[in-house]
Structure formats: structure tokens, C-alpha cells
């Protein structure tokens, strides 16, 4: 008697499916109405919110800043995180446990706590400024609060932990023996990376980087706290629109644009990677 796995799947599918459809439908629908202030919404459907978004350079700039900071954060996280993931994956000693533990703790701890730490580190008489001023690199304190650099740093902290874990699990799937084989057969270390490690891990890494990018696009805390009220990313603007201006429809519009942007960028990236992969076929 064969198990009907499809039946097993059904309740879960219904639950998740209904939640997705219901929640997305409501806010998307709401975005097509006009705010009347104080949380009230008009009855006639109009595109006015969307028109406002796409004709106003402030909103368009906000979209650009969101994409830019998220992409930079994902990229830098990859640069910082990949070597660490590789180290932990290939290490044979018990130290790998401790390193891994460090990463998991960093992922566990909420971003708000990390932002406190960042603010203290970068405060006018904090460690960084003491060093910078002491070495006469700057003559007035450097701050990361209120500029895009701070937001990128905050986003990096947000995704680094998760990023390393994802990359670690990807590198895990590539056996050491492949690398050893390449080296035994004369490849230098760099060449081994270029022709074995990177191509094989590319699919997994792409998915990982896209996940980190998505996380950053939806991340609100670091941008809100480190943006200092001056750097507006879409999540920050959405929260402000809901919490300060109480304009639910406009907030829905902003959220819809954010969602569509994320989806488009994901699709585009996956498509591009597929094209690249088929073009420069290496192994597999």
C-alpha cells in the first residue's frame, strides 16, 4: 500500500497558500485607494498613489537607495563571509565548533542590540574615533549615523550571520576530495578555486546572496536606527507612513513597489546566472 503523500501535503499547502494570497491581496488592493488622513481610506479606486510614486523624485530616490544599500550589503557580506564559511567548512579541528558557535550567536542576537553596539563604537569618544583622531586621519569625529554608510554597515551585521551559515552549508556539499584532486593534478590554489570551487558553488551561492539581498530589502531596523532620520529606505518610509502619518493606502503602495522590485531582481538574477552557467561550462 503506497502512501498518498499528496494528501499529506494538502493541509499545509492550503494554510500557507491562503495566508499568502489573503495577506498580499488585502494590502495590494488597499494601495489602489486614496488616504483621507487619520487612517481613513476613500471608496473610489484610483491609481493616484502609484502615479505619485513614479512621478516624484523623492520616492524614486528612496527606491534607488533601498536597492543600492541592500546590494552593497549583500556583496560585502559575501566578501567577508565566504572565506569564513570556507574556513569552517574545511577545518578539521574542534575549533570549527567554536567558530560556528560565534556565527550562530551573532545570528541569534537581535539586530537592535548590535546597533547599540555600533552606535557606542562609533560615538564621538568611542573606540573608532579615538583611533582615527589619534592617528590624525580625521580632525573631527567620524560618524556612521545619518548617512548611507551606516545603513550598509547595519545591514551587513544583519545578514552576515545568516549569510555565513548559508554559505557554509553550500560549501559543505562540495567534497574536499575534489579540491585535493585538483591540487594533486597540479593546479595552484587560486586556479583550483576558480575552476573547481567557485563554479560548483555558484548556484548555491547565488541563492544565498539573493536571500541576503531579500533580507536587506525588507530590513527596517538598521536603516531606521542608523539612518538618523535622514536616510530613507523603503522599509523605513513604509513604517513612517503607517506609524507617523497613518496613511495605510500609501504605505500599501510603497510595499507593493518594494515587493515587485524584489521579485523582479530575483528573477533577473536567476535568469542571468543560468545564462552565464550555460555559457561557461566548466564542471557539471
Amino acid at each position: 500500500m503506497k502512501t498518498r503523500w499528496e494528501m499529506v501535503l494538502l493541509p499545509s499547502f492550503l494554510i500557507v497558500g491562503i495566508l499568502i494570497v489573503a495577506s498580499q491581496y488585502v494590502f495590494l488592493k488597499g494601495s489602489f485607494f486614496k488616504d483621507l488622513g487619520l487612517g481613513r481610506i476613500s471608496d473610489t479606486a484610483t491609481m493616484v498613489n502609484y502615479l505619485r510614486f513614479f512621478t516624484d523624485s523623492f520616492y524614486l530616490n528612496t527606491l534607488w537607495i533601498t536597492v543600492k544599500t541592500s546590494a552593497l550589503a549583500a556583496l560585502f557580506t559575501l566578501i567577508l563571509g565566504f572565506p569564513v564559511a570556507y574556513l569552517i567548512a574545511r577545518m578539521r579541528s574542534r575549533w570549527s565548533m567554536i567558530l560556528l558557535a560565534g556565527i550562530v550567536v551573532a545570528t541569534f542576537v537581535t539586530i537592535v542590540i548590535k546597533v547599540f553596539g555600533l552606535i557606542i563604537i562609533f560615538s564621538a569618544d568611542g573606540l573608532i574615533n579615538q583611533a582615527l583622531m589619534g592617528l590624525h586621519i580625521v580632525d573631527r569625529p567620524y560618524t556612521i549615523i545619518g548617512n548611507q554608510t551606516g545603513v550598509v554597515v547595519g545591514l551587513m551585521h544583519f545578514t552576515l550571520g545568516f549569510g555565513v551559515l548559508l554559505l557554509y552549508s553550500v560549501i559543505q556539499t562540495i567534497p574536499r576530495s575534489l579540491e585535493d584532486a585538483a591540487q594533486i593534478h597540479g593546479a595552484s590554489r587560486w586556479r583550483m578555486h576558480l575552476r573547481v570551487l567557485f563554479p560548483l558553488s555558484l548556484p548555491g551561492v547565488t541563492v544565498g546572496v539573493l536571500m541576503m539581498f531579500n533580507m536587506c530589502m525588507g530590513a527596517f531596523t538598521s536603516a531606521a536606527l542608523l539612518g538618523g532620520g535622514r536616510v530613507f529606505t523603503l522599509p523605513v518610509l513604509i513604517q513612517r507612513t503607517v506609524m507617523m502619518e497613518i496613511k495605510y493606502s500609501m504605505a500599501g503602495t510603497l510595499a507593493a513597489v518594494l515587493l515587485v522590485t524584489v521579485l523582479l531582481i530575483n528573477l533577473l538574477s536567476i535568469y542571468l546566472i543560468r545564462r552565464l552557467k550555460s555559457a561557461r561550462l566548466v564542471i557539471a
Partner: protein, 358 residues
């Protein structure tokens, strides 16, 4: 009565008297079991209430909880609650004139019979719908020693802060903070605009090259102490606290150039949300707020101007207070009060966002 009944009579009367005693102890708590939720700023604002009002309410059997946030955030919470009241008493700002007092649909009437302290208030300071809580004086607070070092004269108005020697050393309130609207409006006026034309103010703000926009007054005190900041636009109370914390700061009532006003005033109001289930406790609280002792405590600790006249004259005896705040009633009357009926604060926020975004 036969002898064997006497014990039962004694017993019954004993039980009855104990019962009466305990029930009378129960009745002593007018607000037994009542939880009053107060929406106010956090930090020291809340601490003053905890010190002065909470013990009295607890003696009456109740409990007070605080919901902290700026009045704008609390308004959003109120609207988000939809048919329920997330708190029972709320501190609001004069800037929220339209949201609250145009139609009164978010609030309910206050029981003025409980307002025994209205003898200390002026007519305009209380009504069925709201009671005044305090007023603040929005000033320019500057570090006189740093100014002397830089060879700068004391500032007289907002434009003076645009001096390049002060670049990156000035803070002004973020528009979403408590002091945001009042100061934004004042800067607009000083730049030649008014409630409906705030663009000139935005130009001045850009020229100030502000280090950051503060959302908590406490930040400003810390920044004066650490030397990050040489001048700030805050309400006088924060300047007072910075002085008490050790910074050599002075206040200046800003001259609103182009008008006859000197200084900027901001008022707060206490209201009861419509769906609150404990309006009597809320009215009691509002009355306690007007208690002269509490108003004095508030003034001394937080540097706000009390609502009642008696307290104002008492404060004149404290030298630091008298120096840093304007206590002459005539001059207080000459301070700029933004007419929020004419202002579209939502549009202000929009314009502010555009102007300051990096």
C-alpha cells in the same frame, strides 16, 4: 434569651462585625482593581509621574501602567487599535489640534466635577474635552565656553546657528519628535514664512548643517556633555538638565525675525480616548496632574512651565530656573504660538522628508 443562645449571638455578632470591618477596608479603595494606562513620553517624563502620582493611585487600590512614545506615535497606536483603547489617558500636543479637537471623535468627555484643581487654572486651560498639562519654551541652548573659544557672540535667532564654525555641532529636533512641529514652524516664521508656507524654513534648516536630528531630548543632554554638540534647538527644560548635569550651557529665547515675537511656546493637553473603560480613573489622574506639588516637581525636574500661575511665581525663586526660563507673564504672552488650525502637519512631514533625505 436563654443562656445557651448567648454564645451563638456572640458568635454571630462577632462574625458580622468582622465582616463589616473587612468590607469597609475594601471600600476604602475607590479604584480597587483598576488599571489605568497612561500614554506619555518615556524616560524622565514617566519617572516624575511614577514618583508623585503612582503611589497615590496605588493607595486607592489601583495600578498605573505606562505606554511610552511621542504623541504622534501614540496617536498612531490609538488609531491602529480600532474600537479599543490602547490606553486611558494621553498626553497630546497642541500640534495635534486637527487630529483630536476638530471633531472630538477620538476622545471622550472629561468628568470636570473631579477637576478640583481647576481653581489653579485659567478658563482657556480646561474644557469638557481637554485639560492643559504643561507648556514648554522652545529655546536655543548653547555652550558658552565653546562659543567663547570660537570667538562667537551668543546666538539670537536660528539663522545665527548657520555659522560655519558650528558646522556639524548643531542639533535640531526631528519633525517626528515632540519638539518637531513647534520648532519647525518657528524656523519657518523666522525665515519669512508661516504655517502654510514652510519652504523658507527648510532652506534655513539645510544651511544649519545639523549633526543629526534628535528624537529624544535626553540625547541632547548627553551630546552636550560629551562635547559633540555646541548648540541645540530644544525646549528649555533639556537645557536646564544639561546645566545640572554639568555642561556650561545658557538659553536664548530666539527672536522670530520679521515678527514681534520672542521665544516659542508649545502646549500639551491631556485627553481621554473614546473607548477607554475607566474614564473616572482617567479624570482623577488629570486632576492629580494639576496638583501644585506635582506641577512644581515637573517644572523643577523637567524644566516645563507649569499650568498654574501660583507655581510659576514660586519658580521665580529658584535662580537657575529664573535665569534659563522666561517667567514674566507678559513676555510669555509674546511668545510665538503656532496656529495649528492653519497648518497641514502631514504636508510638513512630507516636505521635511524630502528636504533632509541623504
Amino acid at each position: 434569651m436563654k443562656l445557651e443562645r448567648k454564645p451563638s449571638v456572640l458568635f454571630t455578632s462577632a462574625v458580622l462585625s468582622i465582616g463589616l470591618l473587612t468590607s469597609s477596608m475594601g471600600f476604602a479603595g475607590q479604584f480597587d482593581g483598576v488599571t489605568l494606562r497612561v500614554a506619555t513620553w518615556g524616560g524622565s517624563w514617566k519617572e516624575n509621574m511614577v514618583q508623585a502620582i503612582v503611589p497615590k493611585f496605588e493607595a486607592l487600590g489601583g495600578k498605573i501602567e505606562f505606554v511610552t512614545g511621542s504623541p504622534q506615535a501614540n496617536l498612531a497606536k490609538l488609531i491602529a487599535a480600532r474600537g479599543k483603547a490602547p490606553f486611558d489617558v494621553m498626553e497630546t500636543l497642541d500640534a495635534q489640534e486637527k487630529e483630536f479637537f476638530a471633531t472630538n471623535e477620538l476622545i471622550q468627555k472629561i468628568d470636570l466635577s473631579q477637576l478640583t484643581n481647576k481653581e489653579h487654572l485659567d478658563e482657556w486651560q480646561y474644557s469638557d474635552w481637554r485639560v492643559a498639562s504643561w507648556s514648554t519654551q522652545e529655546v536655543i541652548c548653547y555652550n558658552r565656553e565653546k562659543y567663547a573659544e570660537l570667538g562667537l557672540p551668543a546666538p539670537t535667532t536660528y539663522q545665527d546657528l548657520a555659522n560655519e564654525k558650528l558646522a556639524g555641532r548643531v542639533v535640531i529636533p526631528d519633525i517626528t519628535s515632540g519638539g518637531g512641529f513647534a520648532n519647525f514652524g518657528a524656523i519657518a516664521y523666522a525665515a519669512g514664512g508661516n504655517e502654510q508656507n514652510v519652504a523658507p524654513g527648510l532652506e534655513v534648516i539645510k544651511s544649519l548643517n545639523s549633526l543629526k536630528f534628535w528624537s529624544r531630548g535626553g540625547e541632547v543632554v548627553t551630546q552636550f556633555e560629551s562635547g559633540d554638540v555646541y548648540a541645540a534647538v530644544v525646549h528649555a527644560g533639556w537645557c536646564l538638565r544639561a546645566r545640572k548635569a554639568g555642561s556650561p550651557v545658557d538659553t536664548v529665547q530666539p527672536v522670530i525675525t520679521g515678527t514681534s515675537h520672542v521665544g516659542v511656546g508649545k502646549y500639551g493637553w491631556l485627553v481621554i480616548p473614546k473607548h477607554s473603560k475607566v474614564p473616572e480613573a482617567a479624570s482623577w489622574f488629570i486632576n492629580e496632574y494639576q496638583e501644585p506639588e506635582f506641577q512644581m516637581l515637573y517644572a523643577v525636574k523637567s524644566g516645563v512651565v507649569p499650568t498654574n500661575r501660583k507655581s510659576i511665581s514660586q519658580l521665580a525663586s529658584d535662580p537657575i530656573f529664573a535665569e534659563m526660563l522666561e517667567l514674566d507673564p507678559a513676555k510669555i504672552g509674546n511668545q510665538l504660538q503656532i496656529d495649528y488650525k492653519k497648518a497641514d502637519t502631514s504636508d510638513w512631514i512630507d516636505q521635511w522628508n524630502r528636504s533632509v533625505s541623504q
